[in-house]
Point group: C2
């Protein structure tokens, strides 16, 4: 309620001096600064963000765009909450606030982003769930707004700042593991939309198969919604094949839950009659019986990485953060379970 004006006249000081005192400028007497800070705390003064934004043209806030259409998430626990926690941990060091901008399910993501960007409500953006071609990347580069993407894309000539999970590594280790156990026909469950991780993951699979000199069979690639339902459906299709595979690799842990369910209905046990490897370890995946073989990472650390990489491309902070963080493949650690214990006799 109280502004810098009232604070100034309460102290019999000009507003300029008050502003300088509050912002830690050097050219103000120590005693004066002490009085100002004391009075500010006493009267509960806090700077009006709009006035500050208008004057200095920035907002001290960064946006994190997510999509509130829940289906696209595909994560069993609150993936974003974990990541956000890490991002905030970094931003807090510089008094930057994080605003989550949820794109409504019925709105075009690029248009929504455009609106948010042109409103100048944030100094930088984090976008996630990048698609194979993603207009948001061109939009942000054109607007010259610092940003970082969680996920690669073919847009922007792949020269924009991003961090992405190690889908190739996961695909390779999953295939290696299955091949070592004698599997040759391995199905892969991918998301049905054009989110880029599906393509990257598939490339990783193809590379691994070629390395093992196994012919790639496109009919073993099955796409479905990145949900339990999707995993159920994928498994259903797999089991109905004339020449069914003996193993299944899934790119979302939610899919694994559906897969377990469908296998159970068929009287099969994961890791006994059929091998399943999931993607990300999550509290829920941990409760699958038998334990799901999957891959682990720290959501919070990922958030910290995102935050630091973002700061590295924001002019006011760029010098304190190494530029090397701007592009990064985020490693994931294998968590061996029982779901792929099945050794194919062959």
């Amino acid at each position: 309620m109280i502004g810098i004006k009232r604070l100034a006249e309460h102290l019999n000081i000009s507003i300029g001096t008050v502003s300088r005192a509050l912002n830690g400028r050097p050219d103000v007497n120590d005693e004066t600064r002490r009085r100002v800070l004391e009075a500010a705390a006493e009267l509960g003064y806090v700077a009006n963000q709009s006035g500050r934004n208008l004057r200095q043209g920035n907002t001290n806030a960064v946006g994190f765009m997510i999509e509130s259409g829940a289906d696209t998430a595909g994560n069993s626990d609150n993936f974003f909450l974990g990541v956000i926690d890490g991002v905030q941990h970094v931003l807090a060091r510089h008094d930057l606030d994080l605003l989550v901008l949820p794109c409504p399910g019925d709105e075009n993501p690029s248009q929504y982003l455009q609106r948010m960007v042109s409103r100048r409500a944030v100094d930088a953006m984090i976008i996630s769930a990048t698609h194979r071609v993603d207009a948001r990347i061109d939009l942000l580069t054109k607007a010259r707004l610092p940003f970082i993407a969680l996920g690669r894309s073919t847009s922007g000539g792949n020269v924009y700042p991003w961090i992405d999970l190690d889908f190739e590594g996961v695909a390779n280790r999953a295939i290696d593991r299955l091949v070592a156990k004698g599997h040759r026909r391995i199905a892969v469950g991918l998301p049905s939309n054009d989110i880029n991780l599906g393509f990257i993951f598939l490339d990783g699979i193809k590379g691994a198969l070629k390395r093992h000199k196994i012919r790639f069979d496109p009919s073993l690639i099955i796409r479905a919604a990145s949900t339990e339902q999707g995993g159920y459906q994928i498994t259903h299709e797999v089991l109905a094949m004339k020449d069914p595979p003996t193993a299944l690799v899934l790119v979302y842990e939610l899919m694994a839950i559906g897969a377990y369910r469908r296998l159970g209905e068929a009287g099969m046990t994961p890791g006994k009659d059929f091998a399943v490897i999931g993607f990300r370890e999550s509290p829920l995946a941990k409760f699958l019986q038998p334990a799901l073989t999957c891959f682990r990472m720290s959501l919070r650390d990922l958030g910290i990485g995102l935050g630091e990489s973002l700061l590295a491309v924001m002019p006011p902070y760029a010098d304190t953060y190494p530029q090397g963080l701007v592009n990064k493949i985020w490693p994931m650690e294998l968590v061996p379970g029982e779901s792929d214990a099945f050794t194919r006799k062959g």
Copy 2:
């Protein structure tokens, strides 16, 4: 990049007229308005939010505070994403944007909220996961910021605007169902923190037991984290009792997953040797085997209700929304499953 000034001189018109034309004021010629809108679209003009905020003292945005410390969520799917979708649907009708404000796990929620409020970054707030005594409610009323809470609280004299789930109804129907099947010793799993829904749910349980003339046994009330792990632990304690109950009611669906797991380890089957009733139906709960008896609601509708009730207490919109929505118990629909099919011989 382009401001109203440039737009005005490009049209040889005063900036006042441009502003009036853009804001739909009546005192501007139709032809002039057409030209302004056309030029604005062509040059990609969009109002600087900071300038507008500063002038008219509001932000055309409402905040939704959540806690990014993931543990408190207790929901298996992305609960908030569903609710947010509904809220946005309502707000969009009035050109209001929604900002999600995630309180960092290591920061005091009230202090965080205080910061956000005094920055005047939002015109109104939605808070969730209210605690039994919740300083945020007093804070918001004192700041005279319109708000609505998802959840009741004893703070604020219970005269603040809220919407809350029908925990009493759920508790009563759960107990009714179990008693009708002959159960007399019924355990209840509650969250271990002081989130208010735990207390309300417990009151509902007590009332229902009294109605059935069953003595309330405090040792059957078990508190744990609102996670799968918590449900596992609760079930573990229940099974270890000297005089174990025959049924368990849980206030989070995530707990049910842990309960199933622990029962399985004990060689027991839900709905056969032991009755389990969960709380909210979710995509994941649907995949439990046997089907979990739980309660259903539409997250999106809840969000719509929240949004409308919020608008009802925001001065600029209060007239278009009925005041009756301001306090509301949100109904939930019973979804019968097999997890409580077990009829106790008694």
